[in-house]
Amino acid sequence: MANFVYKKVDALVFGLFSPEIIKKMACAKIVTPELYDKEGFPVDGGLMDVRLGVIDPGIRCKTCGGSLKECMGHFGYMDLARPLIHIKYADVILTTLRATCRECGKVLTDTKIKIEVEEETPAPVVTAASEEEIVLPPLPTVEEPVKKETKSSKNIKKCLHCNAKQFTIKLEKPTTYLEDEKKLTPIDIHTRLLRITDEDLEKLGLDPKYARPDWMVLTILPVPPVTIRPSITLETGERSEDDLTHKLGDIVRINQRLFENINAGAPEIIVEDLWELLQYHVTTYFDNEISQVPPARHRSGQALKTLTERIKSKEGRFRHNLAGKRVNFAARTVISPDSKLELYEVGVPFSVAMELTIPERVTEWNIKHLKKFVENGPQKYPGSNYVLRPDGKKKKITEETHEQLLEELQPGYIVERHLMDGDIAVFNRQPSLHRMSIMAHKIKVLHGKSFRLNPSVCNPYAADFDGDEMNLHIPQTEEARAEAEILMQVQTQIITPKNGLNIIGCSTDSITGNYLLTKNMEFPKEDAIQILHTIGVYNQERFEKFKKNVTGKEIFSVLLPEDFNFVGQTKNKKPFIVKEGILIEGHLDKATIGEEKGELIRALYAQYGQDIGIDLLGKIFRLGLEALLRNGFTTTIADTDLPTEIAEKCKETIYNAERRVAQLIEQYQNKELESLPGLSIEDTVEVKILDTLNKARSRVGEIITEISDENNPTIIMAVSGAKGNLLNLAMMAACVGQQAMRGKRIENGYRHRTLSVFTKGELLPKAKGFIKMGYKDGLGPEEFFMNAITGRDSLMDTALRTPKSGYLYRRLSSALQDIKVAYDGTVRDANENIVQFIYGEDGLDVSKTEGGKINVTRIVKEIVGEK
């Protein structure tokens, strides 16, 4: 592979500004808090000095001569009357002071440790000289060696070099240092830090070239260019200054007063007060959210947003401006279902279609066509909102400009026309956790105010219609549209890369409908043809072959391609056979056409490709609905009615279980029970009771399944896999069963019982949350409470788990985001480091497998032929 990198970043060094550098990079000295003079021009030496950059259009920079767009601004500086502590380095200053002698500035060590330290950390931290490409040793953080020194020097009372006595130094937050209860002024601190030699700094883990500790005490303050703190001119003509400018104004004002007072020889108290005030202003200038410092506020009482707040947290520069960007040509509204749409379509309201546009270039062949859009203007659909001239000027189409634009329109112009049916759009629902969360759809402009989508694509988006909103984006270039269509359209996403199964399939009513249709429905020829017409099938040849009465299987077979062969299984493991496009045996259900496991869907997709696949899927979906509509389908409470004998049988089962439990309890109380291996006697009873009750409930479920009536709608839904299962039915009809928390029966509270209606220490089923009634019979009061306990528990669980797992997933995907499969089949990260030598250690493309496995038997059969 050719390597085109000419220069490679070898290292980045972060350091501090020295006073010299600040002075060197400054273009102006700031001496006055005034911003503008009477005429409104910036004052020389003020904070809005023209030498600091341009923020108004039409003015040139006094320093570089650039205009608004060219000049990126220049720093200024101001001399501080007295040194000040930089709040962000208060801790480093403290540790450095503690580690060095107060008289001679040498590192405080006893000889023994000194040697040890020197051997352990040879030339630490950011040495700029590491030019050779060697594996760098892990960089020690600045604090680490410093702390080490401090720890060893804490008990040292005397400097080894000059015999000076040492005192303990404390930091009174935020910026006051106390040495032996006496205050250390920043001037003292500065002189002490200045004394430390370069060699000693290296021992402390600081690189004297880039980060001398005396630079952490400010003697000079850089003034950022006006371009990072532009003022806004209000409609009234008034100027509103940026928060930073306000803060800097405070600093300059107090600084000047301090200068004057010192020069005038004012009393020490006044000078000290001003000094402290200046320290406060500079502290809040860096960070306005220091815990011990009251935040500086606007006149309105709102806290100022100073340097740290600009960068930090969610609304800061990184997460708000750099990691997150806003886009144009997007829309968002509520979604609602429309099963008459194709799966790859999205219904877009007129109001949205007339706001979002697609740029279309005028040529001599389409000028007539495009003129119509311009003629209609922005008010009438399908119209257009803007016209772009070849020189790049954008013209809005209004009542006035409309006539003239229509006239001057000619090849080379670009018309931004309204959305129309068939345009491509990118549709998205957050959280975008997998690639199917963003898919391309064809637009269908509809009335109403919501986005419409086929219920079949709810699954990949994880959308429902209880108020969900979704986003729509309109690609603006031909390339983008082509890319979206080829790579992102719904039909390309039928198979999920997670396990190679279809993520899009039929659901709920459609499954029920197809199940009933292929199981036992029969229609007169005319009706059959009508059904097929409504779902968009016009296969005249097949229609002619229909007899007087047409079975559901025959109707369904019309959809299938004539060379299609398929052998599969229905949900209840019965054979499902399609031969030469005719459904011979079996019925449709969740296992053949459902989401995730629809083997028939998968086979159709694999054999006929994405476009025919999605078309067939749409037709099968609508066929199910249509069949159900013709048939009529309702579930009622009466579905859960049980014949008397069955109900009796259920009751008896539960009664027997209760008796058995009572026996167990008696045995336990008479100490006749033998404990199971590894369990106490108490646990043994518990386990045995739970086992008995669970068995009883399963037995009830079985009894109900035995009588399962094929014409019972609730059972039909459960059997076809459309919704619910037989356990749900048993809970409604006969017995809700044991309410469990953390795999156990509901445990006693502090008073040795679950509810106050029970006696203490009671072990009976009902006292521990066994609900013997069904939902339809109604629960007893104590049963209701038991049900509410588990109900609340699962509610809390989901409410707490969702954000936790969401964050976990976010971190995982951020960590893995640029790992990819390279062209040679290896898995590599962004630096081409190898992660895996073959993708997944087997090189399988999961989306081309069936549930992660290769079905060898099927492939052999296909190649060799049936046998």
Binding site: M1, V135, E832, N833, F837, E841, G852, I854
Partner: protein, 80 residues
Amino acid sequence: MEEQEKFNISEHFLVPKHVKLTEEEKETILKTFNISLNQLPQILANDPAIQDLHLQQGDVIKILRKSSTVGETIFYRMVI
């Protein structure tokens, strides 16, 4: 207890086979994947699984892992 018969983990069925590569083999690996030595996955020199191989920093080992889909799969690591 001490030093009776030290359990050899490389005989355990869950521990895949680790083999040292010769210099030649090493070069071929680097060439086939078009990478420098540093771009290989790494393994600590004191990893229990390679204690018997007497390796030095910069050596490359081959790991033969069992895979349910493909039988046996090969992995390489540089000793650090």
